[in-house]
Symmetry: C2
Subunit: 600 residues, 2 copies
């Protein structure tokens, strides 16, 4: 059975040394952030997730959730107790607004907990983390009464929440939704329709579940301009706050999935359920996007968490399993064979995973810091710059991370050879679980179009130009450094590929927008390489400085330098190939009439 140990040292490195969170102590919410707080939180979260949640991961996958004849759903054995402990420890409310009972800590802290939970037990994690988006939407768009009624109990974890977007005939294209909201005399609405793929739609962890539901009011405009957002509690809340009648919403069935069996993915039936509009009529999609953006970063972190736990188990196996001999001669001549970590191809997979998990972790947490700065930085200019950057990075953190994370879980399974395919080793569960983050909260193709079709051209390319300036500046500053120069030069080359691809879009997408669509996915991956490359340049700079000043933990910093070099030499070359693919354009891609794809 797989094991999990939270990467506490690396997390401390990212928060204290790379992001230097405590240096922002003059911003709201950062006041109490000290390296000591970081250490405590990271240690405790690591302990909780590895001791309480990880042991329920394989069993949760095996058992799954169960729907009963009355529509109720029970979670796998142990989840309920684990959730009670999770709630009690406050792990779900780290970055939630203090005014409604949250801890109000900066987002990177919530991301730490999310990564650890997703590594330990992603099926469990979906129950509390879906509520994060629901809270964000109510907080951003709800009335004061809605906030008072729902937020304190959602933030305390007494109640959980869901997002209801998808219907059987529409997911990406929400303009097609059919769920109806009929206004009632009391100002509420009667919601009717079927929603599918609803994570945590029904379960036994909390007494109440607060559903946020997209629906159309009578006579609403066609398409996405006619969608409103509604709050639909599973159990109605009386004026005194006590629980009242059961609402007309129920779980019609559980989806049978490839993985993520610990999570209850529900078909939800709304049969005239009582709901209240959140935000303005026909502006539901905008309110929902508040949830989506937060959720998208979170989905990137899900991928990261699964890659990390898969990596750890592959390392353990590669150090233990003996097969064959090192190409350079026996590494352990007294044994009948060497541990497989001596084989370069095993190393390749482990180093790819190490370089990416550490780089993607830095990127995700930096994005979390940018979310904070976009709201809280001192000047309007700084806030705008952070907002631009996080807008650009969000589809990359979601799309690039989950693509690479899935590959990592597959490679880590490969390290196990045939044993990787056998359930009891647990590696195949990581692969099955890591498949879904590429799909939900907007498929990675949708992320790529968000990046290239919306974020790139926005404000005349302001965000991406700022990103280029940032990278160029750090490259230039490191270019003459003997330890960083090569890495900087390679990053300069990679960002050059991204600039060339951007220019190519500029020159070719106006005449034919398919040229943009045909290259968007590859562009997202180039930008992922550049963004992670930037993280590695920063991490290498810190490591070199620490080594120069004679820091303890020399081996840790030396490993950072080696891993940075590996990323530059072994992973950055893809940027050039991706640019050339983009320059292939849409012509051959779009030329065939659909019927010629059919076999005969």
């Amino acid at each position: 059975m797989p094991s999990y140990q939270a990467p506490v040292r690396d997390m401390r490195f990212v928060i204290n040394e790379l992001l230097e969170l405590s240096s922002h102590a003059d911003l709201p919410g950062f006041e109490s952030v000290s390296p000591d707080l970081v250490d405590t939180l990271v240690e405790e979260a690591g302990k909780f997730t590895s001791e309480v949640l990880a042991p329920l991961n394989a069993t949760g996958d095996r058992e799954g959730c169960t729907r009963h004849a009355d529509g109720s759903v029970t979670t796998p054995a142990g989840f309920k107790e684990a959730y009670a402990r999770f709630r009690e420890a406050g792990w779900g409310s780290i970055s939630m607004p203090a005014e409604y009972g949250g801890q109000g800590l900066p987002h990177p802290f919530a991301f730490v907990v999310e990564e650890f939970v997703d590594s330990a037990n992603i099926g469990f994690g979906l129950f509390p983390f879906l509520a994060v988006g629901a809270v964000a939407a109510i907080y951003a768009a709800g009335t004061e009464e809605q906030k008072q009624t729902y937020l304190p109990r959602m933030i305390s974890g007494e109640w959980l929440g869901t997002m209801n977007l998808t219907e059987p005939h529409c997911g990406t294209d929400l303009g097609l939704i059919r769920t109806k909201a009929e206004p009632l005399d009391d100002g509420s609405y009667a919601i009717s329709g079927t929603k599918i793929f609803i994570s945590s739609g029904e379960h036994d962890l909390t007494e109440n579940i607060i559903h946020l539901v997209l629906a159309k009011t009578p006579g609403a405009p066609e398409g996405t301009k006619g969608i409103s957002l509604f709050l639909v509690p599973k159990v109605l809340v009386n004026a005194d706050g006590s629980l009242g009648e059961r609402n007309a919403v129920s779980c019609g069935s559980l989806e049978e999935k490839m993985g993520l069996h610990g999570s209850a993915t529900c078909v939800m039936n709304y049969d005239g359920a009582k709901g209240w509009m959140v935000g303005e009529e026909n502006k539901g999609l905008a309110a929902m996007f508040v949830m989506m953006n937060a959720a998208r970063l979170g989905v990137g972190i899900q991928g990261l968490g699964l890659a990390e736990v898969a990596y750890q188990n592959a390392v353990a196996y590669a150090r233990e399993r003996r097969q064959g001999r090192a190409l350079t001669g026996p590494a352990e001549p007294d044994e009948k064979a060497d541990p497989i970590i001596v084989h370069p191809d095993v190393r390749r997979m482990l180093m790819d995973a190490k370089a990416l998990t550490e780089g993607l972790r830095a990127l995700a947490l930096w994005s979390g810091l940018l979310v904070e700065l976009s709201h809280k930085a001192k000047t309007e200019e700084e806030r705008r710059a952070a907002d631009d950057l996080v807008g650009l990075l969000t589809p990359v953190v979601k799309g690039y991370t989950t693509e690479r994370a899935f590959e990592i879980t597959v490679n880590m399974q490969q390290v196990f050879g045939g044993h990787g395919y056998i359930r009891e080793w647990g590696m195949e569960q990581f692969v099955r679980d890591a498949r879904i983050p590429m799909i939900y909260e907007g498929t990675n193709g949708v992320q790529a179009m968000d990046l290239c079709g919306r974020k790139l051209p926005k404000h005349g390319g302001r965000a991406v130009q700022a990103f280029f300036k940032l990278v160029d500046g750090e490259v230039a500053a490191a270019m003459d450094d003997p330890q960083l120069g090569d890495l900087a030069a390679r990053l300069g080359k990679a960002v050059g590929e991204q600039k060339a691809a951007t220019m190519w879009f500029l020159q070719n997408a106006m005449t034919n927008p398919n040229n943009l669509g045909a290259g968007a996915f590859h562009y997202m991956n180039i930008m992922g390489i550049v963004a992670v490359g930037l993280m590695w340049l920063r991490m290498a700079r810190i490591a070199a400085a620490k080594l120069a000043e004679g820091a303890d933990d020399k081996a840790f910093y030396e490993a950072k330098l080696t891993t940075a070099r590996y990323f530059a030499e072994r992973m950055m070359p893809d940027a050039g190939a991706l640019r050339r693919k983009i320059e292939g354009g849409a012509e051959a891609m779009m030329a065939l009439p659909p019927e010629l794809f059919e076999r005969s």
Copy 2:
């Protein structure tokens, strides 16, 4: 539920137009090969697999195989009847030796059937196809008595066969095996030990199962030089050919796997089972390699088959499912949304799959022809050239095909969005099933080392030099053709990357063999790109000629030209990035001491 239609037209194109099998009619076994025979065989195999086997694929996955208390194993509902029909139609004996009752047709025909079966139901396919390797080994190394006793009934499908290599502590490194073979007075051996991951080790499809088992005789040399091969029937065969006593071999348990549930993957216990040596003592590994080489091409075809069926279902879904609008304006303005095949990113995934499945099919069948020519070509020189080439291509067909095939199944699942993750759509089964071909019959890392460590340097690089000469010649011949020139130029560039990588190995692997190991996997993929590129150049040449001569089926040939262009523009650029990764060398990859991979 997924459907499957055999790609009959494309298969006829490959056999009749690309390989021109009937042009070899002067070689043994090719006498009866005519375009008519090809059409009939392809049509009938297509019909059988889509009508009889495909409907049992999802149910076979759900139900799996069952082991009973007495050690017997039953296959999923319908498999037994389907096998009877499979056997009756002779689908298992296409290319088996005519002297023992096989049909003696050239290997490409067997590959056609294998691809179709693997598309329709790979779990079923493993039962008959494992026997192919066992037959090959007995045919190559067995005594005349062994051949007479076992081959006719294995070839007729009355009995099936297995390969027993892996043990709990060793797979790749067979030198470590512990299974013992004690000589008995009658010339037979008592075999004792445990083998794992044995496909079709026990089942209810046939009365007898012929196990080929690697074991060590007393006092045998250490390592791979002390391994012998034994034939161990499940039921002993009396002198008159009737079945006698049950042998002391049994299935201890079935492995629970990520996929391939229709196949019985057994732990086999040998408790002094009676066996007979096949071939010479301590030369078992060589005899086993006869099986392995055939099996490796077959595993490549498994990947191809799964990619093909996943592709077909994604095409159907992409033409049916409506979401959003074409970037160039509504394609079907009367509908509320366009079919998703209008979206470039969906096209990208479909075109990748189309270009690869068609290219990999050509490559696999060409390799099958080379297997024939290596035995049957008229001159020693031709036979040697074919043998060199197929030796070089075998790890590429196994490794590159299964890598790309898995990616294709993942992308085809992605086309379905969230529905791809749901079991009832069947796409996730293709992904789970396509994962194992990357692992078994030698992991793809082992294939890469076979290619770079053994096949490249053999005879002073004779094979790869011949391959370069072949590609260069076809590139040069097409360079000035207005329709083929760009494709040829791009293939020339890709083979240039392979040459540069080969040269880099030559210059850097002697001083440090890890430089070879660190680049081997990427080299395998470069060679895959070049080999498939060569197939596309040939296919494009034929298509252009057919169009020029005004052939019917114009659309088919035009699609070939477009797809060739797509492969060149969109997939070949990876060769350059892979070469640069190889040139990164082993230093950063091998630098970290193993303990620094651990998290703390």
